[in-house]
Symmetry: C2
Subunit: 254 residues, 2 copies
Amino acid sequence: MTKKIVIANQKGGVGKTTTAINLAASISAMEYKVLVIDIDPQANASSGLGIDVNKGKNTIYEVLIEDLDIKKVISKTSLHYLDVVPAHPRLVGAEIELVNMIARETKLKSAVKPIEKDYDYIFIDCPPSLNVLTINGFACADTALIPIQCEYFALEGLTQLLNTIRLIQKSINKKLDIEGIVLTMYDSRLNLSKLVKEEVVQYFGDKVYKTVIDRNVRLGEAPSYGKPIITFDINSSGSQNYMKLAKEFLKNGK
Amino acid sequence: MTKKIVIANQKGGVGKTTTAINLAASISAMEYKVLVIDIDPQANASSGLGIDVNKGKNTIYEVLIEDLDIKKVISKTSLHYLDVVPAHPRLVGAEIELVNMIARETKLKSAVKPIEKDYDYIFIDCPPSLNVLTINGFACADTALIPIQCEYFALEGLTQLLNTIRLIQKSINKKLDIEGIVLTMYDSRLNLSKLVKEEVVQYFGDKVYKTVIDRNVRLGEAPSYGKPIITFDINSSGSQNYMKLAKEFLKNGK
Ligand SMILES: Nc1ncnc2c1ncn2[C@@H]1O[C@H](COP(=O)(O)OP(=O)(O)OP(=O)(O)O)[C@@H](O)[C@H]1O
Ligand SMILES: Nc1ncnc2c1ncn2[C@@H]1O[C@H](COP(=O)(O)OP(=O)(O)OP(=O)(O)O)[C@@H](O)[C@H]1O
Ligand SMILES: [Mg+2]
Ligand SMILES: [Mg+2]
């Protein structure tokens, strides 16, 4: 049974894309079939998985706005069990283009239906906002995985994010649940990291993954080679953290 | 003559808010009258300057959507020469609410006109997207100041940002110019920081400020006390960096 997980947080730069790429890659390394769908106009998950975004051939834009069959845009990655549906900067206009469409919030959900059974896990990477693209991600998913950066501002947006999830649960996706909360860019030398971690664990309890993603420069370098961390530097703490997260994610799912 | 500067970059978490708060505060410390206008629904610049966002009294939302006089929402900060126009999470709906309004892109520009002469500098903090709120910021401003985080993904979004600025210059704001590019979260121990810096200087030449903002945890701690760095920890490298940037900014303006 396929599981669809949206990776969302409207706060910018908290590690959504880094988590989408590396959690998906680590799970695919255990021979589960995994798909990453990039719905962010920045297309960072696409380029981080080796797609040349400027080639600009068919992307999620054509799927959402021109009803192109999603099978036509699925691309291979450097990992055998990992595919990606790339985004493109032209997606910036989707907010306005979708406004007057019928069922604009469930475009992604309908587009994904025919290919769901081909994958064990589908991860959706969202832009840093609560716009119609992110809402499409929430409407399509079974659960939401929320990266939280160990910074003060990252705490401030949580109430807004939870309110949005509640609204989605009441209206367009009754079964949406929280998959888990992952702390990112943790630096054990900093009080700020420890304080934020304490607050998040107090707020969310056992929804918070035991695995914490430490700050590790190799995670920032890997995307410039178009590779997930597991193929870029398997011995780095970043790679080990994401492999550990993958195992905890799979265990929770049982 | 008042100068209005929009601080924008659709990439998330690059230091837009941290730059808006601390550059404005440093300039106000030199006894220039400065206003920060927060147009991000996250309202981080508002809380970072000591505003209790949940009190929810009148904010930029009422100014943009209900044509409230901006004078009614200007709030004091802990610094004598620094005021702030706060935002609120309800601004999330502004994208849809503004869609059918006439002159939706220049709402902020008209709202600010009556109070411009009361300030020497007005800084506008934008959300991490190129939506109608950010476009209002671009339409209102004389120049755009672009923070770039010393990370690979931060480079990727530059073309999209420059394309948007060019579109704005051709249509709604012919005089919009680039004020400057500031490198943020620089870590001199990391190759990644050095590589990104080289690329940015190669791309933008002397538009790049000589002052680089180093990664400094005190910049991340200050907002939890609702204070700019200059009043939170004036001896920190973060405070010294932003004071230096303020001097360079003022010198360029001459
Ligand atoms: N654990 C980590 N250690 C070091 N750097 C990291 C880590 N996680 C992410 N980064 C870097 O921090 C930056 C922000 O991360 P990322 O782009 O994944 O966040 P995001 O939430 O997807 O951003 P956006 O809101 O723009 O979509 C990136 O440059 C990334 O390479
Ligand atoms: N030079 C720095 N050193 C250390 N931490 C920093 C620095 N600049 C910003 N930060 C921290 O990094 C995080 C991101 O910065 P900030 O929120 O200012 O970025 P932003 O571009 O405004 O984000 P958003 O895209 O969500 O609006 C914040 O938690 C902030 O406190
Ligand atoms: Mg991202
Ligand atoms: Mg901000």
